[in-house]
């Protein structure tokens, strides 16, 4: 064992060991200084950064959705409100036996299996402590039924949420519109922060157009959560600012009268306050109940709406484009006077048809026997087509286009609704551009009686009527002309102010002709004059949907209902101090005078009765 003989130098070993201890001590010191350096870096230099991270770790912002603004009609009747809706929700963590609980609830409420499946699916995705809805929109009976057995269902409870509701249903569907669940496309365009707590957004109508005002500002609750996201406590809250309440210019009572008057028909009625452009009636029939859209309409119901022949989802007042027929005649007549193409007293012979020189084609008058000698007043009163064929030919399409454009034809009215159509005001340039065809003289003639390419929306016609009643002062139709912000200050819309320069005598001539339509003994809407103490100025229209062949006669009874003429009427009243301008279109309604005019008359009657009451109160 040689190793035992090794000589150990105890002193040298000792000294060497001491030097090693010193080295180790230096090494330890350096390493500890390294740790200290790192700690200083984290706790002093990085303190703010890590503090923020710690805070964002635990503090979550829980959005509090603002209450959506309420929509009223002009008299303060609620058109869109928020009502509580009850849902039955389960918190899995608080339920001992979920399967058994679900079974019991199923017996109680006859819940279809698919809803249970849906619930279980959602449960898988959710945290154990979150509340998961099983049934939504419970009725009072169901709420009461559960309230009785609630003690036997720990972890199951009723929750009330505010849901948008439209008390007038289909009456306001095309004006107020509706809100629906935010879809993926909207999610991309909506401001994320503002909509964190909101599930619904305006889809059409006022709800969409005034979304930013109605929505309000989202509030936040700062919640301290643990790593799993469970709420520990509320740290701070910023209250949401409710959306602004809107008061529409619409009169729901009048709207109802108009809507009821259109019963059984497809059509639209628009009434505008002449001075302000305030839209009082904006009816499009058929409408639809907007309420199912709020909670999510079923596929079946939606398909039924979309596939219905009457197209209830189609906003006829805003987007329906119809040939104006004879309702265009007062405007053409005024153009004739303004351009000095014709004098009001000048007479033209109407043999029942009109022919362009050297052409065989006969442009027929609605009255085959003809109107004989007619001046402008007679031509408008009796709606003589031949007079306007001749006038249109003398004016030429360019002047017609120029003049009608001033009244807003062929242009959007810029009403505060989304999706408006512009109609069509033809011109030579338009035809060349759109159809690559030259303009034919015959097309000018039929434009003169509101046929051919010319197309107007009911809203456009009402607006043009209001402009005419205003003697040239153009108004912009509005459904909202004021709203209140959170400080209750009134915000008024800015209107385009435009005046068409017109010879007042010419306007008077047209007015008196239009009064004669109702109050003259040969007027096409003379039945309206019965029982009213004021005068109405108006013009009937019957627009062809279907072209009758040259040698044939239009026989109403034999035609398919979809090919029947559209009935139109435009009017303002009282004739000498116009307050309301109305346009009515009844699709395939037949004669303007018998079908459309009575509807307008009902609106005018009610409106003037109301304003009279108002006036006497004041």
């Amino acid at each position: 064992m040689s190793r035992h003989y090794t000589v150990k130098d105890s002193f040298a070993e000792n000294r060497m060991f001491l030097s090693r201890v010193v080295a180790v001590l230096v090494f330890f010191s350096i390493m500890i200084l390294g740790l200290v350096g790192r700690l200083v870096y984290l706790q002093v230099v990085g303190h703010n950064h890590y503090s923020m991270m710690a805070k964002s770790n635990r503090i979550k912002l829980a959005p509090i959705a603002p209450t959506r603004g309420i929509i009223y009609d002009r008299n303060g009747r609620v058109l869109a409100e928020n009502i509580p809706s009850y849902s039955l929700e389960l918190i899995p963590e608080q339920i001992k036996n979920i399967e058994q609980t679900l079974q019991k609830l199923q017996q109680l409420f006859a819940i279809p299996d698919e809803k249970i499946e849906q619930f279980l699916k959602q449960k898988k995705r959710s945290k154990r402590f979150s509340s998961i809805p099983l049934l939504v929109q419970l009725n009072d009976f169901e709420v009461a039924k559960f309230a009785v057995v609630r003690p036997y269902f720990p972890g199951v409870d009723l929750y009330a949420r505010l849901v948008r509701h439209y008390p007038y249903g289909e009456l306001t569907s095309h004006i107020v519109g509706y809100v629906g669940r935010i879809n993926e496309k909207e999610l991309k365009t909506l401001p994320v922060a503002e909509y964190r707590g909101t599930h619904h957004v305006g889809k059409i109508g006022i709800e969409k157009r005034y979304e930013s005002q109605l929505h309000g500002q989202t509030g936040y609750s700062e919640i301290e959560t643990n790593a799993q996201g469970r709420k520990i406590k509320s740290v701070a809250t910023a209250d949401p600012i409710p959306g602004e309440n809107l008061t529409l210019t619409l009169d729901i009572e009048l709207q109802k009268i108009a809507y009821d008057a259109l019963e059984g028909q497809n059509g639209a009625a628009v009434a505008i306050e002449v001075k302000t452009g305030n839209v009082v009636v904006f009816a499009s029939r058929p409408g639809f109940d907007p309420n199912p859209f709020v909670s999510g309409i079923s596929n079946k119901a939606y398909k039924a709406l979309q596939q219905s022949e009457d197209q209830p989802m189609f906003n006829r007042a805003l987007r329906g484009q119809y040939p104006p027929g004879s309702t265009i005649k007062p405007f053409i007549a005024l153009a004739g006077l303004e351009y000095n193409v014709i004098k009001a007293r000048q007479k033209i012979f109407c043999p029942g048809y009109y022919q362009l020189p050297r052409l065989k084609h006969k442009y027929r008058d609605w009255k085959a026997s003809g109107h004989g000698l007619v001046n402008m007043k007679n031509a408008i009163t009796q709606s003589c087509d031949v007079y306007f064929y001749d006038l249109a030919r003398n004016l030429g399409i360019d002047k017609i286009h120029e003049f009608l454009q001033k009244f807003g034809f062929g242009d959007k009215t810029k009403i505060d609704l989304v999706g408006e159509k512009a109609g069509l005001l033809p011109s030579k340039a338009w035809k060349k551009r759109a159809r690559s065809q030259p303009w034919y003289p015959g097309e000018t003639l039929i434009t003169g009686i509101g046929q051919g390419f010319l197309q107007v929306t009911p809203l456009q016609l009402a607006r043009a009527t209001a402009t005419l009643a205003n003697k040239g002062k153009v108004v912009t139709p509005r459904l909202v002309n004021k709203f209140y912000n959170s400080e209750q200050t009134e915000i008024t819309g800015v209107y385009e102010k435009k005046q068409i320069i017109l010879n007042q005598q010419n306007v008077e001539d047209i007015f008196s002709a239009m009064i004669n339509v109702i109050h003259g003994w040969r007027g096409t809407a003379r039945r309206l004059s019965k029982g009213i103490s004021y005068q109405i100025a108006g013009k009937t229209g019957t627009a062809q949907v279907f072209t009758v062949k040259q040698e044939e006669k239009y026989k109403e009874g034999e035609l398919d209902s979809k090919l029947k003429d559209h009935a139109l009427f435009m009017a303002f009243a009282p004739a000498h101090a116009p307050k309301l301008a109305v346009a009515v279109i009844v699709e395939n309604g037949g004669h303007g005078g018998s079908v459309a005019a009575p509807i307008a008359s009902k609106i005018i009657k009610q409106f003037l009765a109301e304003t009279k009451v108002e006036a006497t109160i004041k």
């Binding site: 070993e13 090693r20 001590l25 500890i32 700690l39 706790q43 503090s51 991270m53 301290e224 790593a227």
Partner: protein, 376 residues
């Protein structure tokens, strides 16, 4: 004059000194360990969700470990030296037994189920390996010759490899470093160490090849924790957030939001330092580091005062291990070392490492209190 006074002290020990010697307790070391244990209870109460039962369990372990420490302090270092090889061989055999019949927990095979309790042989080997190397080297003249070095190296590699195989990277590093520390204190030449370091550096890629995926993952995560913020990097990121948000003064006792709200994982065990740093801030951390440093200095003093090579080498090595323990844990928590699953000595919740550590302090006390009272 000075020499005389000192000599007098040696020859006329005070009454207290006599009592302490009889108890074989080194008072400065004891106080240091006691203070650290107290800090442990304070922070554990907060990190463990203010649950008193956790404290009671920990207190039981600490009490048991302190008793073991004092028992070991009574054993003469000669006895340790005599049985070093035996302990070493038993330890290695137990490690093999673990690999063959061990109980698998948390994805690694570290425990031997002895029926009444689970035993982790790798903990024991942390002490028996330096004992073995110290015994082996102390039988020769120091510094060791290359031949002795290679034998010693082999004695280190065997348990290190067996533990790494479990797999338990943290412990195997500690075992290797405790063995290497003996060689260092034995006076291995700097040049030689440099060469060894170079060779090991070159072997790193080979080592990488033999590492488990989770171990590789930890290293990658360590190098770039943000690469996987919700996965492997989560520990380090949350730990840094805890520490950084503590600032200079800390959030106050029981004020840790990171641990309370479960953002910080392993907040009572391996990552307890992060909770400490969050609640007591930089100042608290400096205090704790100082406490550890004082314990280490006292241990080194004991090593220097030791009277034979075996005691010196063992004391130095155990001290070094203790330092590595502290450094690796804090380094990992503050994000300068990879996550290797080493608890913070004397503070982390858990019994096994506590027992081993206090056992090694017991040996140190034994070394110090069994000195022959002779003038040097």
């Amino acid at each position: 004059m000075k020499t005389e006074t000192r000599d007098e002290q040696f020859y006329q020990p005070s009454v207290i000194g006599t009592i302490l010697r009889t108890l074989h307790v080194d008072i400065p070391l004891f106080i240091g360990l006691f203070l650290i244990s107290i800090s442990s209870f304070v922070i554990l109460y907060s990190a463990g969700g203010e649950d008193i039962s956790i404290l009671i369990r920990q207190a039981t372990r600490v009490a048991f470990a302190f008793v073991l420490m004092i028992i070991l302090a009574h054993v003469n270092p000669r006895q340790f030296q005599r049985y070093s090889s035996t302990f070493y061989i038993i330890g290695v055999m137990l490690l093999i037994a673990v690999l063959l019949f061990g109980y698998i927990g948390k994805g690694a095979q570290r425990w031997l189920d002895l029926g009444f309790f689970r035993f982790q042989p790798s903990e024991m080997i942390k002490i028996t390996t330096p004992m073995m190397i110290a015994k082996f080297l102390s039988e020769y003249a120091l510094p060791p010759k290359p031949k002795q070095f290679f034998i010693a190296a082999l004695l280190i590699i065997i348990p290190t490899f067996l533990i790494a195989k479990q797999p338990d990277l943290g412990t195997s590093i500690l075992v290797a470093s405790s063995g290497a520390a003996v060689l260092f204190f034995a006076g291995l030449s700097w040049m030689f160490m440099l060469i060894i370091a170079g060779v090991l550096g070159l072997l790193t890629p080979v080592l990488w090849h033999f590492m488990h995926d989770y171990q590789k993952g930890r290293v990658i995560t360590f190098l770039n924790p943000e690469s996987d913020p919700l996965g492997k990097g989560y520990h380090i990121i949350q730990s840094k957030i805890s520490i950084g948000s503590g600032g200079v003064h800390g959030k106050g006792w029981l004020g840790s939001t990171q641990a309370k709200l479960d953002f910080l994982p392993e907040s009572s065990t391996d990552f307890i330092f992060a909770v400490f740093a969050e609640e007591f801030g930089l100042l608290g951390c400096l205090g704790l580091l100082l406490l550890y440093f004082l314990v280490i200095i006292r241990c080194l003093y004991i090593a220097v005062q030791a009277q034979d090579s075996y005691s010196r080498l063992l004391a130095g090595s155990l001290t070094f291990s203790f330092f590595v323990y502290v450094f690796v844990n804090i380094g990992m928590v503050i994000g300068i070392l990879p996550v290797v699953g080493v608890p913070l000595p004397l503070i982390s919740y858990g019994g096994t490492s506590m027992v081993t550590l206090l056992a090694s302090f017991g040996i140190l006390m034994s070394i110090h209190t069994h000195r022959k009272l002779l003038p040097t």
